[in-house]
Amino acid sequence: MPDLDLEVDRVSKRYGAHLAVDDLSLAVGRGSFFSILGPSGCGKTTLLRLIAGFLEPDSGDVRIGGRSMRGVLPNRRPVNMVFQHLALFPMMSVGENVGYGLARRGAAQPLIRERVATMLKRVGLPGAEGKRIDQLSGGQKHRVAIARSLVLEPTLLLLDEPLGALDLKLREHMKIELKQLQADFGTTFVYITHDQSEALVLSDHVAVMSAGRFEQVGTPQELYYQPRTPFVAGFVGANNRLTGAAARADGHFVELESAQGLTVQARPSGPIAAGDVVEAFVRPEVVSLAHDAAELAPMQRFVGRVESLLFDGANSAVLLRELRTGTEFRVALPQTGEFADLREGEQVAFGFDPQRAVCFEVTRT
């Protein structure tokens, strides 16, 4: 397929006894923004370094633009990397940093100067050539690092948690900027992060990684609304997790009975039979609140006591304890401000549509 910029074909990498990347495959289409999302230590950096060429896979192959990269050194791959701490050269000016790759390719000085100037203009730093790296703000350094890579017009840009070191406000800002830059340049981005909001906001496709393997690859919407494994359901977005046994099950719904005796209904993911050990996930925003349980029909209904209020602007939530079993639920407060006057200790009814909760069989490994 000609329109795939990156293909990773059954690649494994082992550090001593530890399998950091485990028989992993992936394909990234031209011009897309692909994120790899996973907890710390799951092997994201290892995978990225395999693609960049700093590590050789023990088995499998990496193809970039259709060409096998076996034995191709990092300085010969059509790939550039933005490092976690950016790794700008402090001994060089901004212009020299951005022009470094071109100079290494033997481009003529006037051409380098022109390309560097154009590039700096495109990332919003016109005329910054003469500045020293330590004169730049965090966000500006970020742009220089990206300009330094993009000026070489790589097939693929790899980014290793480049926003990790920034403070929250700047990170939010750079997130949007990064997305715009990618759309503007049309370069294929492979972005790794442990921050799910970064992955969801930025990407066309996200791979959720755990212990050296991909749990699920899909669009942000798919990952959020149709998680295929308990790990994805638990890792992407907030979720209420309930464990128990399947009391009843058919192809369309499962009735889970928890150890405390709470019964909830959910949509099954994969085949589930009565008696299986199962795990159900209910998103906070799926749960509706009501002063009177009757309002919630025909959903399954529960009554809870307000344990605490978690105010966070538009993401405000309330922590409820189900009255009969003491099971804890996190419920999003509606944007309408309807339940804004809820107090701790108050009783409210809550319920949710079984089709919007998902249930997995717990496989013991």
């Binding site: 700093f54 300085n75 550039n80 490092f83 050269f89 402090p90 001994m91 470094y100």
Partner: protein, 296 residues
């Protein structure tokens, strides 16, 4: 209000404390460095016209210029010291690189200790060790014969190369330590980034590693150069009569000839030489003395 008052009260006392704190350093500086040098300068600028009568004169310096042996030794010492410093740098750089960037865990500390071990033995004994190895009836010539490389045992002492080996050996640690310090602070990601952007080993060394390590290189080179220039034992023992090291001339004037005026002039010339070369080296490499010494 009260705070400023107490601060005012404290000020003279702090100043006194500060003065007392620096007093030993000041006494040391004045008593052991400045005063002897002032005396040395005065000594070098007088000539004996009659027993116990001296007058101001540049005669001692003129002797230096007029006598080819003296300035020949002087130039030779400077050149050999520069060569020894360069050799030390060439050997120390890969060593420091290996210790800092390649060795891991225990091997790292082991290697540093290994560099330090020779310094548990006094310089005299170390140099004598070289003599035992290199003299005609010594270990190395014997081995060369046994291996069939030379027909007869060769004398390996009393060559310029032998002096250089000895000097490099004594100086190595003083180069490795500042270099290792400088390389330690170089982020590996910078090297990887340069490599990723198309750099090769040589261009990365030249554009990233050396500029970063420059203060360490300068610090190590200054220390090694000064130690080498002022070394007496190693050139004398390993070079014998042929060594022609300037410190030997100073020693001869002071001790053998009892011509303190001439010795003082030579001492002063050596001081000027080292100052001039260090200054030149810093100017050429674009380093500032303060930055360099902070890294040393």
């Amino acid at each position: 209000m009260t705070a400023t008052a107490s601060a005012d009260l404290a000020a003279p006392r702090t100043r006194l404390a500060l003065f007392l704190l620096f007093a030993p350093a000041l006494i040391w500086l004045l008593g052991l460095i400045v005063l002897p040098h002032v005396d040395l300068a005065a000594l070098s600028l007088r000539a004996r016209v009659a027993p116990r009568t001296y007058e101001f004169s540049f005669a001692n310096y003129r002797t230096f210029i007029d006598e080819p042996l003296y300035w020949h030794t002087f130039v030779r010492t400077a050149a050999m010291s520069i060569i020894a410093t360069a050799c030390t740098l060439l050997i120390a750089f890969p060593t420091a690189w290996y210790i800092v960037k390649i060795a891991r865990g225990q091997a790292k500390s082991m290697l540093l200790v290994l560099c330090l071990i020779p310094f548990w033995v006094s310089e005299t004994v170390r140099t004598l060790g070289w003599m035992i190895l290199l003299r005609e009836s010594g270990v190395v010539p014997h081995f060369l014969v046994a291996l069939g490389i030379t027909a007869q045992p060769v004398e390996l002492l009393y060559h310029d190369a032998t002096i250089l080996v000895g000097l490099v050996y004594t100086s190595l640690l003083f180069m490795i330590v500042p270099l290792a310090n400088a390389l330690e602070s170089l982020d590996d990601a910078l090297i990887e980034a340069a490599y990723d952007l198309g750099g090769n080993a040589w261009s990365i060394l030249r554009q990233i590693v050396i500029p970063h390590a420059a203060p360490g290189i300068a610090a190590g080179s200054i220390v090694v150069f000064m130690l080498t220039l002022g070394n007496y034992l190693t050139p004398t023992l390993l070079g014998g009569k042929n060594s022609l090291w300037f410190t030997e001339q100073i020693y001869a004037q002071f001790i053998t000839r009892f011509n303190w005026e001439q010795g003082a002039a030579f001492g002063f010339l050596l001081l000027m030489l080292s100052t001039a070369i260090v200054w030149l080296g810093l100017a050429v490499s674009g380093q500032r003395f303060g930055d360099v010494m902070r890294r040393a």
